[in-house]
Amino acid sequence: MAKHILSVLVENRSGVLSRVAGLFSRRGFNIDSLAVGVTENPEVSRMTIVVDGDEYTVEQVSKQLNKLIDIIKIRALEDSDSVSRELALIKVNATSSTRSEIVQIVEIFRAKIVDVSKNTLTVEISGSGDKVRALEDMLRQFGIKEIVRTGTIAIERGNKYIKAGSTEEM
């Protein structure tokens, strides 16, 4: 099983998310993550969907998604040709004796501390899923209280872009 990233342009309307999510559950596809946000065109949203499965599954997911009337365009992004990021907030236990060690780790990962309390630090990290996971592993020893992750968003490298109406390459 491999992970595949689908970049999906959809009409920015209520009900679209439930149609997409419903399609996944009904057809037995596994969604690894799903991130949605509006695009430069307020009528269009972009979903970045990470699917776990083989070639057949990805093809089926794309074709079935394409059947939904609200879906405008779908593109499978190649790992090598796209940039992907995930954002996570990690709240970790911190005592006076562990605080400086945590700060050091956070610096090495080029993450940020965004909130401090007497007993906790909250770390913000953005990067590939692997990087987020690596930081999580490092912080686990201190005791993680809570993690929030956005799921992957991704965009193609260079001059290629996906737009409602036309898929262009400059």
């Binding site: 149609r19 009904r26 059947k67 365009k73």
Partner: protein, 540 residues
Amino acid sequence: MKITGAQGLVKALELENVTTIFGYPGAAICPFYDALLDSDIKHILTRNEQGAAHAASGYSRVTGKTGVCVATSGPGATNLITGIATAYSDSIPMVAITGQVSLDLIGRDVFQEVDITGATEPFCKHNYLVKNVKDLPRIVKEAFHIASTGRPGPVLIDVPVDIQTDTLDFIYPDEVDIKGYKPNYKGHPQQIKKIAEAVASSQRPVICAGGGVISAKASEIMTRLAEKYQIPVVTTLMGIGAIPADHPLNMGMLGSHGVYAANYAVHNTDLLIIVGARVGDRALGTAGKIAEKAGIIHIDIDPAEIGKNVSTTIPVVGDAGLILEDLYKSIQNCNTSQWLESLQQAVKKNKVKLKEQSSYVNPKKLLAELSKRLYDNAIVVTEVGQNQIWAANNFIARKPGSFITSGGLGTMGYGLPAGIGAKIGRPESTVVVIGGDGSFQMSMPEMGTIKQNRLGVKILILNNNRLGMVREIQKNKYKKRYSQVFLDDNPDFVKIAEAYGFKSEKISCNSQIDSALERFLADDNAYLLECSIDPEEETV
């Protein structure tokens, strides 16, 4: 000039050339029903909303138009669901209109509120909840467009009652522009060339025709293609009628309930050309195995069907009619004489052996006899179960659209209301509904609709006092441990028919078939003929 949403909805239906709709009123759809009084659109009041949806389906299948059904919110809307799902499975163009509680009450679980767009989302092509009366004309236009183009299917429009009473300046759009919906009709020339080459080098080609051939109106070109290149044809349950049943190249229905020759052809082919079929498990359950030794060509308007259940050597997306037309011109040659000869041997094994019985009517004989007496323009509509398969394999469907059945979902209770829709759509045709005693009872009250509208629908009940097909499964797969398949206390169907003012009679042996069918078909009045069937009679 401002009109109400309800008036706008009626007007939009008129502009879509809708002349007949099927439905059942309720408070949340009352403004629409009020506006309907000022229209020429004919409304058929069924006895259950499910009946309305199935009737719209039957109507669509004989007229080629988009069927329209209407229901109120809540229970009315949920009663439509089975009909919508049935239409979805069989790719029938349909627009379902439901009333909804007023906008400010949505989401509060008020009286007769149900989230019908959420409920139908998995099995309709698209659906709408109208939130602004100004959107209504565009939504109706889009709904009819989506329902009837590409791969046809049902579309639902949920209209809150206050949207129906709100007012708008009614302007009906000329065109639709839906960014994410542009069906592709023309097959890719390169792919068509590849098919032509594959056919030329094939020794044992077979065309498998599904319901898509009928809905694409591609039956004629497919038959001509088969004739010109002498390619045998098998059909799915939904494809029956795509090529005349008695055509020498037609090997019959394939699959678990199909006939020997059709399955023999599919198992021995070196090139299977699937047209407008979704390769369901009942029809082509072993398609994966076929694919290992034969080339598979799949032609379908819905790209998602291709490669879904069987891997395809040459896929082509587009309209079956246009693609077969192109193919007709592109194939160079094809020599199938040996192949056809071996199939002729197989066809001999199709012949059913009739059991000698004196106290029952043999359904296979009955249906063969019925075929002999029906004209080409007759329409047979079935229920689901053994009755459906007996009809599929023994009724001689000569024209596309002359055999109507719930093939995809296998919905009991479909036949009678679909037959009503068919009769209304084609009043000049003899419409015969064939049902088992079980499925007939699921929609039996629709006899009231027949009576009220003076429809000469003929009903043939094959009564084995069993849920026959399930009983057969229990016999063969559950060691005869019969569970809940007995309908021993069935009502007297003849008396029920008489209560509705139908002519009616019951027969119980083969020697009565001739004269009973004569009376059954004699005039254009509704008639119920009940036939006693041996509960042990096998499906194939």
